[in-house]
Symmetry: C2
Subunit: 342 residues, 2 copies
């Protein structure tokens, strides 16, 4: 064969290979990407949206850089009952630090935690909570804090499922994250949880890197210690990334409006409003906890993850409300054989 | 042909195509990626670092997600003389708003700007500057602000080069950004400039998307206006992303330590310290403005972009100091035929 013919054959090969790869991507996107979702309106709505915004020439086409999707964490990507997992960390941390603080035995809100007295703990209110957060989340460097959280996630177990907390994540949502990314979306977490707390595990668990994390945060201070620069976590709030704070966090960190947002509670309402108020195709999804058997059933009256106003607005505006019991074939990556005891 | 044989041929084609693509990528990375850099120690140091951290099996190999590179903007990616470009925007904006504010004719610091009295302007100090920033950067929604900046960048011209400010960017740095990205780096801006100001043009000019921008910022407030959510820019500072603030901004937005950082002044010193204090291969580069002919020559005594302590530390620690006059074949994307007149 002469060189020109070889060139032509190689070009054909490359084009064939490209077509094959496209075909494979297409297959992955169409049928198998969401195996833990039951066939039904919810799954169809998701796939329909993704197809509309990714199909070139479609009136709803959105260029890849604008395909921003934001996910709440607690109750949307992982469970949030019986207490927020980060609060379980606070409790475990107070217990671990208690031997160095004998005065805590008689001082609230520490005493309440050490005695497991949830009523007294609740009575300490927001002031008590902020003090607990300050003691467990500040006063150390960012590196020291990451190490503490990392050690905790490796050992602490969820009280009902007897699994590490980082395994109590929703399999259908893991598939949804991967499906969106396979279709050119950039996925972000936008959570009321601590930004540095989530960064410890979010890349491994969700495939979401630290730079795509938006969360509540405290002030940081740059210092030189023995000639080495460190960042110290200070006891002063920077952003509470909840409710009104979510669009603020989105603008601060992402700088453009998401085209799709995913939440489960009234804390996500403003994020869903902000997302759907943009022009062009938009998508808003609410995970409704309806499955007391495999997970929990709660909404309007829950003290954790209250879903009331956002449920009304979802119904009024036609946002997708996912019925966990009906729409999810599987809830967790592990199979659940444990009924709630409390 | 039977199906099996077709399959084998297709597989070979795909492998060939993949090899071809790899070869093309390799070509792009090796020789031609930095054509505006003169051959010499600076260019060699850059290429050497990139090759070391990207070569699998190399002791200095860094996985792609950890290849974070942060760039200062003023004086590093675009020029900063005779005044910071964002301050030129402030001046133009005050002039544009003046007809609605007849009282400014007799009130400092506005009067100083309207009369071009730079001495009186300087005398108004930090208080005056903050007032000017508040008037020009706050009180409107984020969308309104972006439109104002976008209109300004489309028309405003640099006084010496008679070009739009967004063309007064350094061609060698554009090539460096692209070269790093071609080698799996994620490039971020970390600048004392306003985050929302830079987001307007950084994607088009530098290929850096809004979500990879770290900058000085003000507080935002979520509001409903006629049933539509907006974010209002408030006259309260959130972060001054300069000096000590740079590692803070990096941690807040990126959440991991860069392996390479690029600056030009003492405002970048802490970012360079923070970057190089990490383990493994690290790279710090300072653009030294040495070219009065094609750009400007300034360092230790300059009121803009002072380079003094960082120059000493660069020399002491072996950070790469780029001599603009010697190391850059080209400075701007346009050719410079204009000598400075002031």
């Amino acid at each position: 064969m002469n060189r020109r013919r070889v060139g032509r054959i190689l070009t054909s090969c490359a084009m064939l290979a490209a077509s094959l790869m496209l075909a494979l991507v297409h297959c992955a996107a169409a049928d198998d990407a969401l195996p833990s979702w039951n066939d039904g309106a919810a799954k169809r709505a998701i796939v329909d949206f993704v197809q509309r915004v990714t199909k070139e020439g479609s009136p709803d086409f959105v260029s890849a850089p604008e395909r921003i999707a934001t996910f709440d964490n607690d109750g949307t990507l992982w469970a949030e009952q019986p207490i927020y997992f980060q609060f379980a960390f606070v409790i475990d941390r107070i217990k671990a630090l208690a031997p160095q603080h004998p005065e805590w035995k008689t001082k609230q809100p520490y005493k309440a935690i050490l005695n497991g007295d949830m009523k007294a703990l609740a009575a300490s209110g927001q002031k008590g909570l902020l003090e607990l957060l300050a003691v467990t989340h500040t006063g150390m460097t960012t590196d020291e804090y990451s190490k503490i959280v990392s050690d905790w996630t490796a050992t602490a177990q969820h009280p009902r499922f007897k699994r590490p907390y980082i395994e109590c994540v929703y399999q259908p949502m893991l598939e949804l994250l991967a499906y969106l990314r396979a279709n050119g979306f950039k996925t972000f977490i936008v959570s009321g949880g601590g930004i540095e707390f989530m960064r410890v595990f979010a890349e491994k668990v969700y495939g979401i890197p630290p730079e795509q994390m938006v969360g509540s945060s405290g002030k940081l201070k740059f210092e030189m210690r023995a000639g080495k620069p460190v960042l110290v976590k200070m006891p002063a709030i920077d952003l509470i990334d909840d409710k009104d704070g979510k669009p603020v966090g989105i603008q601060s960190h992402i700088g453009r409006r998401p085209i799709a947002a995913f939440g489960n509670s009234d804390g996500d309402l403003q994020m869903l409003q902000w997302t759907t108020a943009g022009e062009g195709a938009r998508f808003a999804l609410i995970v409704h906890h309806t499955d007391a058997e495999r997970e929990w059933a709660y909404d309007r009256k829950s003290h954790i993850g209250m879903l009331d106003k956002a449920l009304d607005e979802a119904n009024a505006k036609g946002w997708l409300v996912v019925d966990m019991k009906k729409d999810w074939k599987t809830v967790f990556p592990f199979s659940v054989a444990v009924k709630e005891s409390n």
